[in-house]
Symmetry: C2
Subunit: 243 residues, 2 copies
DNA sequence: GAATTTGAATTTGTATACATCTCGTGTACA
DNA sequence: TGTACACGAGATGTATACAAATTCAAATTC
């Protein structure tokens, strides 16, 4: 079966069928294009991606291992839910791990790490200008993941990657509510924090890095709190955990 | 192909082929029965487990997602190495996360959690009496994982599960060197710390729980340091990362 | 003799076929 | 009418077949 190569997969890895399905689904789940608890039956995915069940299953297994998908034996896969308990866990674990990686990044960053960080921070500013919420969430995650990687601790990197994925799902709502053009104060604050964080890492200033990290998280939490308090109901898009 | 059911798989989950391969390999990797960097080619595993390549591949993907196996595209799978950098990362991340889950467990443990904890602690004492290193490492991991689960934070649970797996691999050496019958002082200290930790969680005494956790980790680190300093060379069993 | 090429054997990636399980539907029976 | 059972369509789990990539060694070239 000759599958026509669609587009944008030129750079990077060779991109087999599994990667195609995995990357696409992962991004769609994180962007909330596919809503939480949506069923992912193999037949549908096979038809959609034009590949056989084997790579589809392998992609689902990887997504399940990452926590983005739930697989129940003999009963198919579905997109993981984002309950309120998850929201709390994200901030709880995120707070701690972000502070740790911020400090470690100061200790261990290489010049190459720093260059990547500065590039990512610049990319984020561009994306924030553009107002494209997906792009913003994506480049924001990339920046923070690069900081994690600069910490040179694989356990922190991996757990933070998971936290970021779920965080980004929620951030879809957050950005929409907190980065409106009519009020640029939040956007400005974010940019300022990013710059300060990169600076702290460049100067190997652990205390400053941790302090900005805490402020950054607080800003995010405030936004969420406002969302929850206001009429704009995050919970509609999420799902109350009732399993 | 009628595969004869070997043994011990009666209780628990239905246990399909994937689970059989996954569980067996996972345990063998963690017990260092399969040495780090050993190649895991599909043919060999297919022959050994008497199943087809499909479940073997799915098991390998799960193990890779867990960090116990490395898969390189078109170039097969191998058991992840345990370098000195990993050792440092384990203690670094472990310290932080253990303290967090100890405190959270105090806050959130249910009566059921506590009952499981006490049972697991008792099981560990039995296994330590027996002197069976594998059993000790296993029940020790189980106890600590139960504490993580009592914290009710899935990110901590998942990252701690990964840390524990690698920790248990190293612990194979640790136990052999530190729990010899001729000197029961370390064993006694461990048991005492476990009891104190369970007590703290029962009494919801966060500070005590964190303090014991720190002491517990220090005891472990001291043992490792001794190992490294002495003629018994941990590094022989590990592998210096040179990729 | 060293480096490069080529090609078959081996191994992995993907597709398809077969086996088993789940769940809804309809029917029999109380 | 309601419950239980049986059956079948559809979905997942596993095995096998085929395609593509890698490897290693022999042959060729410089």
């Amino acid at each position: 079966m000759n599958q026509v190569v669609t587009s944008l997969e030129a750079a990077g890895t060779p991109a087999g069928s599994v990667e195609k399905v995995y990357d696409t689904l992962r991004r769609e789940i994180i962007c909330m294009t596919i809503a939480p608890s949506t069923d992912l039956d193999e037949k549908t995915l096979v038809d959609r991606f034009g590949v056989s069940r084997t790579p589809v299953r392998e992609a689902l297994i990887r997504l399940a291992a990452e926590g983005l998908v739930e697989i129940k034996r003999n009963r198919g896969a579905s997109v993981s839910e984002l309950g309120l308990a998850t929201l709390q866990s994200i901030f709880e674990a995120g707070d701690l791990i972000e502070r740790a990686i911020a400090r470690l990044a100061c200790l261990r960053r290489t010049e190459a790490d720093l260059a990547h960080l500065e590039q990512a921070a610049a990319d984020f500013e561009v994306d924030m200008q553009s107002g494209d919420i997906n792009a913003m969430a994506l480049s924001n995650s990339r920046l923070h993941l690069l900081i994690a990687e600069a910490s040179k601790n694989k356990y922190f990197v991996d757990s933070y990657r998971r936290i970021l994925a779920d965080h980004e799902r929620i951030a879809q709502f957050w950005y929409a509510a907190n980065t409106r053009p009519e009020d640029g104060s939040v956007s400005d604050a974010i940019l300022k924090q990013h710059r300060e964080l990169v600076r702290a890492i460049r100067d190997k200033d652990q205390d400053a890095a941790e302090a900005v990290t805490i402020a950054h998280a607080d800003l995010c939490k405030d936004g969420i709190r406002e969302l929850l308090a206001s009429g704009e109901n995050v919970v509609r898009g999420l799902a109350v955990e009732r399993r």
